[in-house]
């Protein structure tokens, strides 16, 4: 190594816990000089090799493809073997970085977590090609470039779990499938050879575990080291439900469709009418206490005062001519 190698002195506050022997987790601090080419995985290795041989983490390929080595640094989900350390120093504007497992409540030892819920939900959505395959075909199955492109980036997923453990819905709703799972469901739904599209859509349309519970926070898109854009695939699943006529008539689908009705009528969204249309006339009653509080504060526009966009005729024309989906 050349003598003019530039390094930064960094402190790594590191989450330590052994589920078999420790009552509570604790933090250990390691200081080291870090070069501009070093990755988070290099730091994990150095902690183990230079400081404490009992430090535990998952690693395998070191080529961004096995998906084993993901952790969180200062709350940011990273694939250790792809994430440069100096970049983190710049992002967080600090010389102290917090290394922790993807999910504290699932930790087995140090950086190693139990991913059983991830894998269980993953397999429930049939993440494989369901097709009658002729074992002795006369010629290959031909897929056009256009058909192959429909998989989008969904094929790049390495199941690292970054999106899953960054998803706030997974944290509060145990039955929610999760972003990686939906991205994979989309990947096979988009495959022209596959026969299980309907079956997958019937699972992802369920309220609670399904796509309608997504809060659209984009944490998954941000967390993905392979640019899979899971929320983009969740949107595609929403679209497929309507296109395939499999969207059920419920509060979530009416909520999506209600926007179109409102825009066609006013240009703007009629907030009150959207809630009434989505919830139904009876369901809307549960919003009454809030509605009263809002009314008292001048936050409810009465139907006869509903504002309308100027040049509403243009909007009406476009809604008519540009609508591509029916409900």
């Amino acid at each position: 190594m050349s003598s003019e190698r530039i390094t930064k002195k960094l402190t790594f506050k590191t989450f330590r816990f052994n589920a078999e022997t420790d009552f509570l987790p604790y933090f250990k601090t390691y200081e080291m000089e870090v070069g501009k080419d070093e990755l988070v995985l290099d730091i994990l290795n150095r902690i183990k090799w230079e400081f404490d041989g009992s430090f535990s983490y998952r690693r395998s390929c070191r080529h961004g493809i096995c998906g084993s080595c993901s952790i969180k640094v200062n709350g940011k989900p990273v694939l250790s073997c792809k994430q440069n350390v100096w970049e983190l120093v710049e992002i967080f504007d600090t010389d102290t970085l917090l290394l922790e497992p993807q999910s504290r409540k699932r930790v087995v030892k140090d950086m190693i977590i139990d991913k059983k819920d991830f894998w269980k939900k993953h397999s429930e959505l049939k993440p494989w090609l369901e097709a009658e395959i002729d074992e002795h075909p006369k010629e290959e199955i031909r897929i056009s470039p256009h058909e192959a492109e429909q998989l989008l980036e969904a094929d790049y997923c390495i199941q690292c779990g970054n999106c899953y453990y960054a998803c706030p819905v997974v944290e509060v709703n145990e039955e929610y499938f999760g972003p990686a799972q939906f991205a994979k469901a989309y990947r096979f739904n988009a495959d022209v050879r596959d026969n299980a599209k309907t079956e997958r859509l019937e699972k992802v349309r369920e309220m609670g575990p399904g796509v309608w519970d997504c809060v659209k926070c984009f944490e998954c898109a941000e967390a993905c080291p392979k640019d899979v854009d899971p929320i983009g695939k969740i949107t595609k699943l929403h679209n497929q439900l309507f296109e395939e006529g499999l969207a059920q008539d419920n509060v979530a689908t009416r909520h999506a469709v209600g926007f179109k009705h409102s825009i066609a009528k006013h240009g703007l969204l009629d907030e009150g009418e959207l809630v009434r249309y989505s919830e139904g006339t009876l369901g809307v009653m549960k919003h009454l206490p809030e509605a009263i509080a809002m009314y008292r504060k001048g936050k409810i526009v009465m139907p006869w005062n509903m504002p309308k966009s100027e040049k509403l005729d243009e909007i009406k024309t476009l809604v008519k001519s540009s609508s591509k989906v029916k409900f």
């Binding site: 501009k36 992002i91 519970d213 949107t235 929403h238 703007l268 936050k299 540009s322 591509k324």
Partner: protein
């Protein structure tokens, strides 16, 4: 300095359930000498829900909204994070795909419009920071917020996804498959549309709070989700996310919370009672829209800022 002038896309919420947002935005702009031209022709952005149903229709409608800013030769500013995201997502797709752009323009031609891509789209808060300037804002402060700990709540759609927030031409995080050999080039996670914001360490609101001489609260939930977009179909999820953020702010000594997003505001403010019930703890925290906070520090009359419309009553005014 040339006079600042923008086309304001108000979104629907500011004209209905959060009238105080529009009032305070206009009052602050007037005070700072920023001219805002209201885009009264604009329609709803679809709020990410129309997109779930009919993606193409939402592209056409959002493109039409931008057309009206372009026609006036003005850059567009938004005052709702979700309007901001849906508008820039449309812009990004049309600007990078000629075929899609002409497909959309074919429809727009029916009403005599054409999307060109000539107007930028930013949340108003970034226009204040980047064009007006924080130093100049600080000079206008007549009622400094010295006594207050203010919790900034950023709202997802101003800060994520960062592929919309990276500087053009820069590839930030990628140092090649599994290899750091090429080393790290300083590009950073940066906003392409919303100046310099980083999703894991956003600073814009904190910098504004400091310019108004308040104390910015350091708490983990500042860049988390309030759950608004699942309010109707998954109220427990939404309440828990809102409640976690509110309690995090309260446990870190916040006297109030400020947000640039009216949808976050609705969850934090109007639903505070329901959220408290879900969390099993008392929650009483005044929630201000960003221009309300700025307006108070600039000495604007609270009535003009629409404080009377806030459900969580700011007793300090």
């Amino acid at each position: 300095m040339a006079e600042l002038k923008y086309a304001l896309y108000t979104g629907c919420t500011a004209r209905e359930s959060t009238p105080e947002l529009l009032m305070s935005t206009l009052a602050v702009a007037k005070k700072l000498g920023i001219e805002l031209v209201l885009l009264d022709e604009a329609s709803c952005c679809g709020a990410s829900h129309l997109q779930d149903f009919d993606d193409f229709l939402s592209l056409v409608l959002n493109a039409r909204n931008i057309c009206y800013a372009e026609k006036q030769g003005l850059d567009m500013v938004t005052i709702c994070n979700t309007c901001q995201l849906n508008t820039v997502m449309t812009k990004e797709r049309l600007d990078s795909d000629e075929n899609l752009k002409s497909e959309v323009n074919e429809k727009l031609a029916e009403v005599g419009l054409e999307y060109k891509g000539s107007s930028s789209v930013r949340h108003f808060l970034y226009a204040i920071i980047d064009d007006y300037g924080l130093e100049k804002l600080a000079e206008q402060v007549v009622k400094p917020l010295d006594d207050f700990n203010v919790a900034a709540f950023y709202g997802c759609h101003n800060i994520r996804p960062s592929h919309l927030h990276r500087k053009q031409g820069g590839v930030a995080a990628d140092v090649g498959e599994g290899g750091g050999e090429e080393g790290f080039e300083s590009v950073g996670l940066m906003s392409k549309y919303n100046g310099g914001e980083n999703p894991y360490n956003p600073t814009s609101l904190d910098r504004i709070i400091e310019a108004l001489r308040g104390k910015s609260v350091d708490y983990e939930s500042k860049n988390k989700c309030c759950g608004f977009h699942a309010d109707l179909q998954a109220p427990h999820t939404a309440h828990k996310l809102t409640g976690t953020a509110l309690l995090d702010a309260i446990d870190n000594n916040a006297d109030m919370m400020v947000t640039p997003c009216p949808l976050c505001h609705l969850n934090m403010d109007v639903k505070q009672g329901a959220v408290a019930k879900e969390m099993g703890r008392d929650i009483k925290l005044p929630i201000l829209h960003l221009p309300q906070l700025i307006g108070l520090a600039l000495g604007i009359d609270p009535k003009e800022l629409g404080l009377q419309h806030n459900v969580s009553e700011p007793a300090f005014v």
